[in-house]
């Protein structure tokens, strides 16, 4: 954003700074108030997850009789089992399991392909500028921001024409195509900071386009690859719009299946199963967040603050 903002992305993730010399309003009362407010917000953000977990462990009778916030009297894992293998998503009752695998089958190739394309595009656009390369980048970038409603209809028709309608392969294509913009952006912004002299020196030594990419740039790219993979993984795993528009029955991703379970109107409303299903759908991205949070945040800030 500001000229100094690009380098502050990393700053955010440093441990709490010790360098600070004051700006602290230290009187004890204010300090107590400060912790009170921070603590209230900790509750605000964590309570929904807490409620989801305890609800998923209760029996339906206990849910109806007891309190939303109460701990379960006895831990019941049956609703987890139901959510995983026998909950009904519309007509079929196989739980989330098949859809979980659909999402994996969808996410892995889509992430790999879009990241690879982003890397090579970002490299070409930042280090081998050619007439029009900035325009191309601008056009790709704008593609990240369009409301996807504007491409839904022609995409549905196109997928039908090339016989990929309602298939996981079709969804992979969709996610790759609309992911290229962001992946290119990430790599381009990263490679821009690599000095041009490095490329010049390698060229003098006789290295070509691909040799420079594989020998110099790829080994430098671990952080940006991690950021991009996490960004794409989270976005594609969490996608609902493309999933619900372009898949049917057996090929649906997990978000669509979750929504179907929660909104299925047949039989008794099993809130515990709904909550277990929601947690199952959230586990992969939460896990990524817990394990690689700093890269996740770097992606978020880079994706929004085009520093």
């Amino acid at each position: 954003m500001t000229s100094g903002h690009a380098d502050t992305k990393a700053v955010l993730m440093r441990p709490a700074p010790k360098r600070r010399t004051g700006r602290g309003w230290t009187p004890a009362l204010l300090r107590a108030l400060l912790f009170l407010i921070l603590g209230l917000f900790v509750l605000y953000y964590s309570l929904p997850l807490f409620v989801m977990i305890v609800t998923s462990l209760k029996s339906l009778e206990e849910i109806r009789a007891g309190s939303l916030l109460g701990l379960p009297q006895a831990i019941e894992l049956t609703s987890w089992k139901t959510a995983w293998e026998s909950a009904c998503t519309g007509v079929s009752c196989h739980g989330l399991k098949p859809y979980f695998w659909n999402s994996i089958l969808l996410v892995v190739p889509a992430v790999v392909i879009s990241t690879a394309l982003g890397a090579i595009n970002g490299y070409a656009i930042s280090k081998w500028r050619f007439p029009g390369s900035n325009v191309i980048f601008g056009l790709m970038l704008f593609g990240c921001f369009i409301p996807f409603q504007v491409v839904l209809l022609p995409m549905a028709i196109t997928l039908g024409t090339i016989n990929l309608a309602g298939s996981v392969a079709g969804l992979i294509l969709v996610h790759v195509v609309y992911g290229i913009g962001f992946t290119t952006l990430f790599f381009r912004n990263y490679y821009v900071t690599v000095p041009d002299e490095l490329v010049k020196a390698a060229k003098v030594d006789g290295a070509g386009f691909f040799a420079i990419f594989t020998r110099i740039f790829l080994p430098l790219s671990t952080p940006v690859i991690v950021v991009t993979v996490i960004w794409q993984f989270t976005n594609i795993w969490n996608d609902f719009l493309f999933g619900v528009s372009f898949s049917q029955g057996g090929s649906q991703p997990i978000t669509v299946a979750l929504n179907n379970i929660v909104n299925s109107t047949t039989g008794v409303k099993e809130y515990n199963v709904d909550m277990a299903a929601a947690i199952i759908a959230a586990i992969p991205t939460l896990l990524v967040y817990v394990v690689a949070g700093k890269y996740f945040i770097r992606g978020l800030t880079a994706g929004s603050v085009k520093g």
């Binding site: 500001t2 709490a16 600070r20 700006r23 593609g143 022609p154 290229i180 609902f240 719009l241």
Partner: protein, 290 residues
Amino acid sequence: MKNLLDRHLPKIVVAPSFAAVLFFVYGFIGWTLYVSFTKSRILPKYDLVGWLQYDKLFATPRWYVALDNLFVFTGLFVAIAILIGLLLAILLDQKIRAEGVIRTIYLYPMALSFIVTGTAWKWLLNPGLGIEKVVQDLGFPDFKFDWLVDPEMAIYTVVMAGVWQSSGFVMALFLAGLRSINEEIVRAAQVDGVGPFRLYFHIIIPSLRPVFVSAVIVLSHLAIKSFDLVIALTHGGPGYATDMPATFMYAMAFSRGQLGQAAASATVMLATVSAVIIPYLYSELRRKHD
């Protein structure tokens, strides 16, 4: 020969991606724009009929409900998320020992799918078993909190869930902004005897202007595209009380068989987003060359 290939290699490498973007983004936008000027219903037709679809769209009460909801939702969602985000960033910037842990807790909802968030909040807001019952059990038997099924109030439940999911992210943006402020300026002001409130309101917060801009852009962009959250939380209901342009478009396209209406509403959405995004991208890209 090899030299020639080498010279064109960068273009050749970018070409497939660029071709895909031209076709799947710009070609598709062109198609939707075109179809919005036709009489298409269940199947696309290609005879131009002028502004017919737009006249019809802007004579549809449901579309006005959707636009109204979009404004209410966007306004509140952006304003509240920024207020909370800024407040939390400033508080967290006071040398808090547990900052890392607290930050992680504030930000995790951003890793969730809106469908998961919607499902969770649908349960919390369940009239009868959710928050309503918690407060009643605390000794307020007359307490009522049924916004989820109240057509007048349902849109505010979408705001609540949206803010819960996104405000931690805004906090992260502001925290990064605060950490990049020049310490010298702050110190100089303190030496001059500027008190903490004046320091924040006259020096620090004004210098975060660029962060405000990007937070507003990102959040309003999220709001205009909001589809999943509405579907999971209220499914546009009760009735179509929480319909948004995105859900309106989806209904026209995939359940009502009104392709022309779907295309026209999608075009209006694109125009709205472009009005926000194009100046932003332009200024961002230009700044790069300075």
